[in-house]
Symmetry: D2
Amino acid sequence: MSRKPPPPPAAVLVIDVLNDLAFPGGEKVVPWAHKMAARLKPFLARARAAGFPVIYVNDNYDHWRSDHGEIYRYCTRKGARGRAVVRKLKPRRDDYFIVKPKHSGFFGTSLQPLLQHLGARRLILTGMATNLCVFFTAHDAHMHEYDLYALSDCCAAESDFDHDTALDQLKRFCGVTVMRSDEVDFEAETPAAPEEKDKRRGEAAGKPEKATNAR
Amino acid sequence: MSRKPPPPPAAVLVIDVLNDLAFPGGEKVVPWAHKMAARLKPFLARARAAGFPVIYVNDNYDHWRSDHGEIYRYCTRKGARGRAVVRKLKPRRDDYFIVKPKHSGFFGTSLQPLLQHLGARRLILTGMATNLCVFFTAHDAHMHEYDLYALSDCCAAESDFDHDTALDQLKRFCGVTVMRSDEVDFEAETPAAPEEKDKRRGEAAGKPEKATNAR
Amino acid sequence: MSRKPPPPPAAVLVIDVLNDLAFPGGEKVVPWAHKMAARLKPFLARARAAGFPVIYVNDNYDHWRSDHGEIYRYCTRKGARGRAVVRKLKPRRDDYFIVKPKHSGFFGTSLQPLLQHLGARRLILTGMATNLCVFFTAHDAHMHEYDLYALSDCCAAESDFDHDTALDQLKRFCGVTVMRSDEVDFEAETPAAPEEKDKRRGEAAGKPEKATNAR
Amino acid sequence: MSRKPPPPPAAVLVIDVLNDLAFPGGEKVVPWAHKMAARLKPFLARARAAGFPVIYVNDNYDHWRSDHGEIYRYCTRKGARGRAVVRKLKPRRDDYFIVKPKHSGFFGTSLQPLLQHLGARRLILTGMATNLCVFFTAHDAHMHEYDLYALSDCCAAESDFDHDTALDQLKRFCGVTVMRSDEVDFEAETPAAPEEKDKRRGEAAGKPEKATNAR
């Protein structure tokens, strides 16, 4: 009989994969982004199938409208460098979506309240760029005292140097465990989930009054 | 010749008007919400015409998807108490939209970075409920040292007592000027606006590379 | 045999009791502050004896030096209205101390990281003024999803109206349980405490190297 | 006649120099910390003489008491590795002091409200370690849209690699200008300063009532 406590509930963060790669140096990220997408797509499928929340955390591209459809259309516009990658990694209907205005997914967003709502204390980090938005989101998550995992094959950067240095710093100073996507054993994990059934479901069935914050 | 410095650039906050009013006590808010909408609709039209940013700051109704269309549809569903009010106050294409998970519009949102992006230091507060989301958003704005105005005829609450007490507390302790919507002179104000042209416009015209945070 | 889970670990917040009461209206608070101190002093003694962390959360009086001694001296200066109250409620060596620059104890402070460090999820609120710093700290704590208690006899305000209205709003909208100090049963509560032994204690005994954030 | 606007008011951040260097790898920082102190001490003297606010932003060493004297004593205890450096860089009576619980100076602190109080929009970064607390404080400052300068000879890290990589990343991605301390021309800068005279001064002279947040 094991006395080891179960791992805290986990969620998957998918950082800036809706990305037109139109920034300076973005052309160097393209091949790495394709490799990342090839691994990330099946990983997300496994996560969803096992009941783990998948949370897209994505730049707002100066839209400030809280509309992920608009961001998706913008990043898949004709000629956008990231188009094929973005299409491959299109968010699903049941994924969560957080729009961020800056590098870190915790800055000016509801990521922290969402994770609290879900009860998640363990985060699996994926996306790009490894040394920027993934890195700074990981660091903020570390300050918030989450248990952290970064998937080396589901992240992408401009160069091996940027990618490797970032993962190395996260290991050394932010308590991040770096692993490959095929090393994640969803059977051994507990998915994060809101305590009460998602309230939207009650809608059709003549949902009773509930206390919201919309007052 | 006046030596008085011009007022700081202003923005209009529209708080929780996409609202199904399905919370306990919501039925008492209904008549006040209708009165509010009758004043708020023309006020927003004046603000937009004068070039002032209109920022919807709205509860997420536990959707956590950063999708204001979904929230609009939810609050205008058949039988929703707030349906008529919500339809009257539907956000326009050029309005900003901030989804909030809790009472205050500053908690877990990008309202503060958006206001910084716009250069707004003066906020005109409208919406409901006066004593809850308007009140707590005003208080957070006060701690962030914004110049604050609340429009008594463009806010609504469950009762006169709740409405009046809240406005009175904001006056006494948060430096809020309380006025009616017809007292706002947009000619004498400066609209907040991002320093550089909104970047979305460049999209169709073969926009050049820019530095985003989506890395 | 009870299946009820134990209450989450608790901490006591003591808000703005180092107070010169030199604000407009402060003279009206004086008699209430004396009544509060008469109840709060023995309550804090009970809390400390039972091992519960006592956290002073106090205005910085524009000192911005992170020095609670300086704030204590300032508020007990000759002629300060609050002098007797402040002396009565002087922080003890083992109490925590958070300096805040604005109304809410969570705004621009390390209260949230401290509570996370302590593992506290249940807060007992005391101090003044009931309708300002206690009220807004309670509201922020509610948005952070703490379990909340306010002690009516250990809070003070300018008037019964301000005091009662604030407590009533906290009950109605922020899930706060309002009770008297003699109703708190420390035997039935679990004190919050850092998981690892407080690291300062190791100091004299040739403390080994530890990972801090001071790099 | 120049039409160029004056630079925004500046403040100096001194990060984690009250440091016992007792973390793993701290012994490697020691020689660099001595070099840093040799440059930083005269730089701070110049800054103070020119009227620029000097803000110590320092780890709390798990004290959580908001007491910088206690931290100073702790880091200069007998046998502490950083003792000589800390003594050399002792804060002065008119310096500001922010205690931080985590890497970034903005996380769980009043640094942002203090900078707003001072009107500072331009920050000169010094301290250690270059790749940790300096780096992450710089990044948060960048997300808050400050104008940023880092002084290469007034920062220290474990190795040249850590130091240089961090400064390079700050240049590439956070808009930080990297320079040496002797390149800072205080004559050409505007010191940040609170709009109203510091209120403490009024104390002795029978200061009138003022509105504080301590209610």
